[in-house]
Structure formats: C-alpha cells, structure tokens
Symmetry: C2
DNA sequence: CCGGATGGAGAACGATCGTTCTCCACTGTA
DNA sequence: TACAGTGGAGAACGATCGTTCTCCATCCGG
C-alpha cells in the first residue's frame, strides 16, 4: 500500500468515525483499526490527532462543496439553481448515515477549545455563503436575499439532523421559493 | 448553604462551563471548583456527570423558552409576535458569552453517544417549533409557514455562533418579514 | 546465507478524567 | 470534656486516551 492509498484509507476511516460518533468519542486506536494501518504509520502521516481532524475537515469541505456544485450545475441557470441547493440537501439528509453538518458538530464540540477547528468551520461556512451569493445574483436577485436563503439551508441541516427526518429540506425549499418570488418553483 | 442553593450553584457553574467550553472538555473537578461545592456533595446531588448534563439541559430548556416567551409577550398580537422572535435572537446573539445553541452543540458532541442528550435536544427543538406554530397561526397565517420560519431561526443561531456576529438575526428577520408578506415588518 | 533496514503488532507510558475513599475539623449534646 | 455524626478537602483508584517505544518478522543487497 503506497503513501497516497494509506492516506486515503486513513482519512476515510477517521472522517467516517468522527462524523458518526463525534471526534472526542473516537480514539486513535479505533481509527487505526478502521483504517487497517499501523499506529506507527498513522502517526507518520499525521503527527497528532488534531492534525488528522483538520485534514478530515479540509477534505470534507472540498468534497461537500464539489458535490453541491455538481448537483446545482445540472440545472438551468436562474432560480432553478438556487432551489437545487435544497433538493440536494434533501438527498443528503436521506443518506442513511446522515448526522447533520460535520462542521457544525465539530464547532460545537471543539470550536471553543481548538482554534484550528474553529477556523476550518468558519472558512467552510464562508465559502458556502459566497457560493449561494453567486447563485442568487446570477439569478438576477438582489444579494440581500443571500442571507435568508443561507439561513434556511443552515437551519435545515440541523433540524434534519435532530429530527431525523429530511423533511426540513422540503420546508426550506418552500421558504426559498417564497423568498425568490415563487416564480420558478416547482412544488 | 441549603440543598436548593447548592443545587442552583452547581447547575449555574456546570451549565456555564459546559456551554463555554463544551461538555467533554470540562472535568468534574472544574465544576466543583466553579460551584464552590465539595466533590462529595456534588455527587450526592447528581450521582453521575451524565445526570448533571441532563439536568443542565432541562433547566436551560425551561429558562430559554421562558425568556423567549416573555420577550414575545410584550409585543402586540399578530405578525409582531412572530418577528419578536428574531429580535430576541438578536439580543441573545449580542450577549458576550453567546456561543450558539447549547442544544445543537450538545447534540453534535454527544447526540450519537448519549441517548438522554439526544432526547433532551429533540424535545427542546420540538417545543420551540410548537411555540412558533402557535405564533404563526395566532397571527392568521397558514401553519405551513412555521417550517421555514423555524429554519430561519435555527439557521441564525448556528450562523451567528460560527461567524461571531449577531447579524444573522437581522437577516432572519428580513426573511421572515418577506415570508409573512412584508405587511407588519419594521425595517 | 547474512546483516541491516523497514514496518507492523501491540505493550508501555504519562496524563487526564469520572468516581470513590480516607482523614480530619467541626458541630451539637450531655 | 467526651463523643457520635456530618461534611469538606483532596488523595486515591481504575479506566481511557494520545503518543511513543519495544520487539520481531520480513525483505533486500552482497
């Protein structure tokens, strides 16, 4: 197993466990067992748990935004692309292992105690907001609509996690349709 | 110091520390030091940390909803009362020690690992949603508006926590005004 | 076949944490 | 003054965790 594959396996295992059970609740030995690597190799790749956490968050940020952008990109330009965000959220919430926004979870757990985590979370949310602003202005709406639209998405993530139902995405979409003027909405 | 005062001091200290730094990051000895109680007395009041955590969440739920209801009750009936929620959120976000919704934080940290925490969080959010539904229908709006209005508030809590700015409450209010039909809004 | 390096398995270490226990100072009573 | 009982301070215990170290099997060039 070469360096790149080891790192991938490690990040896959760590990210999955951290997301499923919480970061502090997962020991490095469980990460080792799930990744199949030896503890020595694990610590050569990431000399401390905090660096492994940061690497997981960074990779998840890139993947999450890429998946969102891919789903949005399939829709025609305009309001449809804004609303596609909520449809993608619904698909995400429906995944069996969905447990909320990993960044919100990490912030609640470690934001006050680990500045690197807090920074990563802020950067992720800032990037999401910037992306939404692009979609909103590209659809010809005033940028001031971005705030509420972001909050609907944000609220849907935590509401879906806590309630265990993807319905919040539908509610968020209905709210977004109304905010946008209910012109291009489907349902 | 009698039983009731000891319990109050303990819950005050524990809730403050848990909220400020996260639950797992605070040791029972720090709770003891902050409360001024002895470890023996502390464990007589709550035989385990998990029960102390649950008591903190329960008390915080009652106080949080009472404070919200008090602020809302000062406004005239109708849309004003719905919008008062967001104004109260803004005041809350502005408090110097604001660090997001304690229930969302607790859920991210322990929801997957402590069912009592998960239950308390679900109950809190359910109660908030029911309260919003009351305000929405009392103002003569269809109940279907409750979902998006709740999500705006929910999203504002986490956005304000992560960004460190209370501005999200203003954005949520503007979104809510638009959802309600922009009839009774102020700004 | 051999010697040295590599890496894996897992024991070991030091710190921390939740919880319990020990010891003692103090109180109220006769 | 003697004494039983209460409660506080903090040591102690056992478990867990992040991290490092030890030991051994395996491989490779000669």
């Amino acid at each position: 197993m070469d360096h790149a594959e080891a790192e991938t396996r490690l990040l896959d295992a760590a990210e999955g466990l951290f997301y499923e059970r919480g970061i502090q609740a997962v020991g490095m030995d469980q990460v080792r067992a799930a990744s199949g690597l030896s503890l020595k190799r694990l610590y050569r790749l990431f000399p401390a748990k905090s660096e492994l956490v940061k690497a997981c968050l960074d990779r998840r940020d890139r993947r999450w935004r890429a998946r969102l952008a891919a789903a949005v990109g399939e829709r025609p330009e305009g309001d449809e692309r804004v609303l596609a965000v909520y449809d993608w959220l619904h698909a995400w919430f429906t995944e069996p292992d969905f447990r909320g926004c990993a960044f919100v979870n990490a912030y609640g757990e470690l934001g006050a105690v680990d500045p690197a985590v807090a920074d990563a979370v802020r950067a992720h949310k800032r990037a999401f907001r910037a992306y939404m602003a692009e979609l909103v202005t590209a659809a010809g709406h005033p940028e001031a609509l971005t705030g509420p639209l972001v909050l609907l998405a944000e609220g849907a993530m935590t509401a879906a996690a806590i309630s265990g139902s993807p319905e919040a995405a539908r509610e968020a979409r209905r709210g977004a349709e109304r905010l946008l003027g209910a012109a291009a909405g489907r349902s």
